[in-house]
């Protein structure tokens, strides 16, 4: 292996090994490769100016030319282990990219290629599929579907549950999960709809619909989508799941009042929602791209 000085100051990746893995089915690649690098490290890698990041190997499907055979990483060499340690499906079971909490410097709605084209891709694909099913239902009612990691790299959506105009009772989900036989630790997200506002005043309805493009929250009560996720996490914890990892793996997929799917990663509210119950337009736009599998690094 050769070291390319000035190209990579942070990371060692044996791209020959990477290419071998890339030649395997894509699931193998995403499961084996992506979870091993933290978002932070890969962002740094992308910032170095080298045009041959592992991410580009992924997006272009081309073998990198010789000069970038090896990257260097100040903290040590992490080449061969990147590809060799985990088997198919482990990426879906445990995702160090998310579990590390290494999100310093990212926007609140973390949207990056590493997650989008790695372990999240499978989840996003299933979310989009079930969102299309939900869009075919009565728009005036909320419909929700829980995403379950069934192992072997597969994520499935449970059949959508229909609630009322403003909510689905958690007891409906609890009954479904218990009947399904899955553990709460296997829950990796939920896709659900927010119906259009029924407020007669158009300006108030517009404000309502605008806010409801994101998961709901209350500053005064334990209410809304984040409270539901927290309840699932409580049960997962009782059943023995790692609640910190669970929190980071969970994704709120919201079908907004106008039918657009958006993706908000993490079970807990981001700072702006937690503190002021607001979300920026930028985060809403990022969430939309995120759900489509688009990402900032590859645009």
């Amino acid at each position: 292996m050769k070291t390319l000085e000035g190209c990579m100051d942070f990371i060692v990746v044996d791209l020959d090994q990477t290419w071998k893995a890339f030649q395997q089915p894509q699931n193998t690649y995403s499961a084996n490769y992506t979870p091993q690098l933290s978002t932070h490290k890969l962002l740094k890698l992308a910032q170095t100016g080298c045009t041959l990041t592992p991410d580009e190997c992924w997006t272009t499907g081309k073998k990198p030319p010789e000069p970038c055979t090896t990257f260097t990483f100040s903290g040590g060499k992490i080449g061969g282990d990147i590809l060799g340690s985990s088997g198919i499906g482990e990426g879906a079971q445990t995702d160090p990219v998310e579990a590390e909490g290494d999100t310093e410097g990212e926007s609140e709605e973390a949207n990056n290629c590493i997650k989008e084209q790695g372990s999240e891709r499978i989840k996003d694909t299933e979310a989009r599929r079930i969102a299309q099913v939900i869009r075919g239902k009565n728009i005036k009612l909320e419909h929700g579907s829980i995403l379950i990691d069934v192992g072997n790299g597969l994520i499935i959506a449970l059949p959508p549950i229909t609630g009322q105009s403003g909510a689905i009772l958690t007891q409906q989900f609890i009954a479904q999960i218990n009947n399904s036989g899955y553990e709460y630790g296997q829950i990796v997200g939920m896709v659900h709809s927010h119906p259009p506002s029924t407020e007669p005043d158009p300006s108030l309805a517009s404000v309502s619909d605008s806010r409801n493009r994101a998961p709901s929250h209350s500053l005064t009560e334990n209410a809304g989508d984040f409270a539901v996720a927290a309840l699932f996490r409580d049960i997962a914890g009782i059943q023995g799941a790692d609640t910190a990892a669970w929190t980071k793996r969970y994704t709120h997929y919201i079908i907004g009042p106008h039918g657009v799917l958006r993706e908000y990663d993490g079970a807990d509210p981001p700072k702006s929602i937690a503190e002021t119950n607001t979300i920026s337009e930028q985060d809403v736009q990022d969430a939309e791209k995120d759900a489509k599998g688009q990402c900032q690094n590859s645009q």
Binding site: T170, Q171, I238, N277
Partner: protein, 155 residues
């Protein structure tokens, strides 16, 4: 400097001074002054010996609270999860006040106890026992059991 130039300068200065009032609203996000979608949840976990009970009271919009309970017990090293909601639905009629539910352990390892007050203050509350195996019985008070340190689900 001509009078015209001076006048133009004054007008320009005045416009610049007042420009703050024309600045676009700063977008810090979308304020949520609207009702929160989703249920309002009160939850409480009570551990009694090797079993746990997660009791949930949830309301949607301005509706009445709805009670759910999930029971967990260790049996032979395996955690069993039982959704008791349907059983409680049969027991807790509209005569009872879910907001006043009290939870605790029953003395002498008789499992969990749930006390549900009657809306009629002179009528008897409901006393529900959940055994360590997750079976549900009514009337633990008649069996002579007492709840230890009950806590209200909805504070």
């Amino acid at each position: 400097m001509s009078k015209l130039t001076i006048a133009f300068s004054i007008i320009l200065a005045a416009l610049l001074a007042s420009s703050d009032s024309y600045s676009a609203p700063k977008s810090h996000g979308i304020h949520d002054e609207i009702p929160t979608l989703g249920p309002t949840i009160h939850k409480m976990q009570i551990d009694c010996d090797s079993s746990k009970l997660l009791a949930i009271s949830e309301t949607v919009s301005s509706g009445s609270p709805i009670f759910s309970a999930v029971f967990f017990t260790l049996h032979g090293g395996t955690m069993s999860t039982i959704d008791l909601t349907d059983q409680f639905r049969d027991l807790i009629s509209e005569n009872y006040d879910i907001k006043g539910i009290e939870l605790g352990c029953l003395e002498e390892k008789h499992g969990h106890g749930i006390k549900v007050p009657n809306r009629n203050p002179v009528a008897e509350p409901l006393h529900i026992q959940i055994t360590t195996e997750g079976r549900v019985f009514e009337g633990y008070d008649h069996a002579g059991y007492h709840m230890l340190g009950g806590k209200k689900l909805v504070q």
